[in-house]
């Protein structure tokens, strides 16, 4: 099993835990995995690195969506 296959669903689940829809969570998980290509060599624990990156990606995305929605209401 490739690293991508091994972690993809777990990362999507983290995104879903932030209330993000499946499709957007998949897009974020894909971006996190791509971003890890040049990083995982330095990571102490690749799985933990990916989970942390997905948590930050999800919270950033949620904050961004809220800002956009607020602006749309105004």
């Amino acid at each position: 099993m490739s690293l991508y296959e091994e972690h993809f669903e777990a990362l999507v689940a983290i995104g879903r835990g932030f209330g993000i829809g499946r499709r957007d969570a998949e897009t974020l998980a894909h971006a996190v995995l791509l971003s890890s290509i040049r990083r995982l060599d330095d990571a102490e624990d690749p799985a933990e690195w990916l989970r942390a990156a997905m948590r930050y990606a999800s919270s950033g995305y949620v904050a961004y969506r809220k800002t956009v929605q607020r602006q749309e209401r105004v």
């Binding site: 490739s2 971003s35 290509i37 040049r38 933990e48 690195w49 942390a52 990156a53």
Partner: protein, 379 residues
Amino acid sequence: MSRNDAEYDRLSRSLEEEVEAARAVVADLLQSPSAYLHRAVPIAWRTMGMVEALGDAARDTLERDPEKSESLARFATGIAPLLGARYPSVLRAQCNARAWKELANAYRYRGSHEAALRALDRADAVLDEEFALAEDRAIIDLARATTLRDMHRLADAEALLASAAAVFHEHRSNARVAQCELLRGMISHGAKPVEAREAYRRAAAAATAAGDAQTVASAYSNLAVLDAEAGRTGAALDHLQQARAVFEELQAYGEICRTTWAVGFALVRAGQYVQAIGPLAEARRTFQKLGMTEEGGLAGIHLGEAYLALRNYSEAQELVSAIMAEFRQAGLNERALAALRYLRERGAKATAKQAREVAAYLERLRREPTLRFVPLNER
């Protein structure tokens, strides 16, 4: 294999191949990188691997040759926006931001702090709305905090450092956690020596565990300075020897130079003027070779202080004249020349205290370029 999985696989392999191919090109570029800055970038060089290889070369030459590092990083920032859509936006942003960060580091090393901050602004802008790149943003924050610390904007540096450190902790990026501890120590160094010592010790331990020799050596070097400032000269020299040994292995000549300067400075402060002359003269020579005129001048003034304390007025005067000529040639701040002229004109009446006063002024002038030199006896 899904489409996304296949893309990940393809990119992993192609990036590795690109970096490998680019290393040979960069090895040639290293001879004279500035010569390529104004030429059109060949299509074959417009790859992420090329930007990465240039970034690595800029990082690796930073200590030995900051000017070359700047040219390499500038070249990387020129190629990064030319990367085509064959790379996903997240990778383009990551690569582009890294190039700007390397350029910022080169600017910082050369004392151009405002230019460094502007380069980091560019890095932040390319990372904007790339949600997957939290660690990359933290890396830029750490670079910015380092620059702000150099500019003595300590509160700003501390706030940025705290947020970057939290991100690295969560990613378990231990080498970067160690770098944060080192910077935390440097921020506390002047006003909170106890906190600084603890932070340096944490940095040394974390960096040793992460195999980051550069940070280990920097932590020892800073512990040495703390010891010297507290009058623990023996401990200071021990720590400095440890630092120097690691820096020599790393061929980190700029850092060896700073460490040697710190040894000399600590000896001057401890009143061991004769012993201080060797390290300070060596530091000054190396800074000059590296094209770091301001640092070379400052090391020279500390050397002048030692000469004056030993009543060796002719050496001191000759040295000050040489520093003035270097500053003039480098087009440095006229106010610095005025302070040096004051010292030279004192001739045999110059004192070690006045040399220290001029050195302190030159240090301040780097962050307050409009500051006027007023000798203590005229205030």
